[in-house]
């Protein structure tokens, strides 16, 4: 197991645009970076059986998720030449139109940042023990299913 400190991935509620802006701004001191790639997952107002999704309530198996996020980070650093990487995922309620996943990769040249970002997002969708409950106007819900 790596000695690197575990990073906190989970954020309670939506990930705010100002948080994302700050994260970008913090990189202005790292002048060896030539490319950033960012993925933002936004809660979509799907209509299911005539009812519109107004929010997603996320729960996770925290202990296992932290372990998995760490593993994904390590593996992305091994596979790609990255200067840095940040992953944030919401827990709890996020309204439609708000951001629930923020993946941010930086590298000297664009290829590594872009490919690593996509690699990380795919692995999170497939392997992170996180569950989203899609909540409708009347507070009824169904459990979300990820599209491949």
């Amino acid at each position: 197991m790596s000695e690197k400190k575990r990073k906190n991935v989970f954020i309670e509620g939506a990930i705010l645009p100002s948080f994302i802006a700050d994260a970008i701004a913090k990189h202005s001191t790292k002048k060896d970076i030539g490319a950033h790639s960012i993925f933002l997952g936004q809660v979509r107002n799907d209509v299911i059986n005539d009812m519109e999704v107004k929010a997603i309530d996320y729960t996770a198996y925290n202990e296992m998720a932290e372990e998995k996020f760490h593993e994904i980070r390590e593996s992305a650093f091994e596979k790609y030449s990255l200067t840095c990487m940040h992953i944030y995922h919401s827990l709890g309620r996020v309204n439609s139109g708000e951001i629930s996943l923020f993946v941010f990769t930086s590298s000297r040249h664009r290829k590594d940042a872009i490919e690593a970002c996509s690699y990380i997002v795919n692995r999170i969708k497939e392997e992170a023990p996180v569950w989203g409950k899609e909540i409708f106007e009347d507070e009824s819900y169904i459990w979300k299913q990820n599209t491949p």
């Binding site: 997952g41 996320y58 729960t59 996770a60 198996y61 202990e63 296992m64 372990e67 995922h89 629930s100 996943l101 997002v121 999170i124 969708k125 497939e126 392997e127 992170a128 023990p129 996180v130 569950w131 989203g132 409950k133 459990w143 979300k144 299913q145 990820n146």
Partner: protein, 77 residues
């Protein structure tokens, strides 16, 4: 032998609880049978079983005190 069960997502809805302890269940096949008897809806469901944070495959033997998580397909992001 005691094991701790954690249920997530739709499985916690079906069982009506997210954490409990059971005794005298020795491996994952026996656990599945036990749960499917109590909660028939689980029979038609796809779910993974993790033991002490690692996802199991095939029939997995428990040891005393393990934490067993019942996990429906993930839907994060």
């Amino acid at each position: 032998m005691k094991i701790k069960i954690l249920a997530f997502g739709v499985i916690a809805d079906i069982t009506g609880k997210s954490e409990w302890t059971i005794e005298n269940i020795h491996h994952t096949d026996e656990l599945k049978k036990h749960l499917e008897n109590l909660y028939p809806r689980l029979k038609n469901m796809k779910y993974a079983i993790a033991v002490n944070l690692l996802i199991t495959s095939g029939n997995f033997e428990f040891t005393d005190g393990v934490i067993v998580a019942l996990m429906p397909p993930f839907s994060g992001g």
